[in-house]
């Protein structure tokens, strides 16, 4: 099937995936919420039941509560890794790539990228924070973590600015196509993702979240 005008060419490599829409995204977010509830509730029920049945079972109860806490935390941790920085290239290529990236974004985005390694990009699905190996889609109270990256040219590694620029250009040309090609690593409460991000990147999430709240 020929690609629709303006659609990302990379969609051909994931032809089996339905194109992401705001409605499909909401459904997938709800599914993540249900999955989290399904992991948490049984352990909490076990924890309460054990203590009610016998106070001696308190250690087992605490272990169950720990599971209820840890499993969603591990999912969130996996999601937060999409913003990780990859091994940088040599200084020269890094400088050149950051110059090109700087030409693609405005002053505020350049400044945020310099501090956090993430570039904010408003979209129809929410506000994106684009990194080298993925992007966060920030909603009012929820963050979705997308794992996606540029393929390296033969025999060379792209510098960090180029990695971000690749994702940014793809996102700007076809946001829904971008969300179709990318893999959704996690979707959940903003606070869950925030506490798993490196400290410097939390500022980017806070800045974008503040804007989302103001515009809501």
């Amino acid at each position: 099937m020929p690609a629709a005008a303006g659609a990302l060419p990379e969609l051909a490599s994931v032809y089996w995936r339905p194109r992401m829409t705001a409605e499909r995204l909401r459904r997938r977010e709800r599914l993540w919420t249900l999955t989290t509830v399904a992991h948490v509730v049984p352990f909490v029920v076990i924890a309460v039941a054990m203590v009610l049945l016998s106070p001696v079972a308190l250690p087992v109860s605490l272990a169950a509560l720990a599971h209820a806490w840890l499993i969603p935390a591990l999912y969130a941790r996996r999601g937060a890794t999409v913003t990780r920085s990859l091994t940088p290239a040599a200084d020269g290529p890094e400088r050149v790539s950051l110059g090109l990236l700087g030409d693609l974004v405005d002053h505020d985005a350049r400044e945020l990228h310099a501090r956090t390694g993430l570039v904010p990009e408003p979209g129809r699905l929410g506000t994106w924070l684009v990194g080298e190996a993925g992007a966060l889609l920030v909603g009012e109270r929820r963050v979705s973590c997308w794992c996606v990256r540029a393929t390296d040219p033969d025999g060379a590694r792209l510098p960090s600015g180029d990695r971000v620029a690749h994702l940014l250009l793809a996102l700007r040309s076809d946001e829904e196509g971008f969300a179709t090609v990318a893999n959704l690593a996690f979707s959940g409460a903003r606070w869950r993702v925030r506490r798993r991000l490196p400290k410097r990147q939390r500022a980017a999430l806070d800045a974008v979240a503040a804007r989302s709240t103001l515009s809501a």
Partner: protein, 74 residues
Amino acid sequence: MSRLIRMDGSGHTTLAEWTTDDPASVEAAVAAFREELDQGSIAMVTRGPGHAEHVRELPLDEQLVIMRRPIAGG
């Protein structure tokens, strides 16, 4: 002067520069553009803040055309 650049391991490489009143430079730029497409690159032009467009032919009136590699879910 318009430029065709490719994002690569060096940051970026200028593949061609052209002006529409210089047919030889246009021809060289079109050839470089097609060669990049044949190697699997994707051509992009920016369309103001927050917008970019994938192009399949070299837009001669654009100041900057950027070739990028495909992206894929990790």
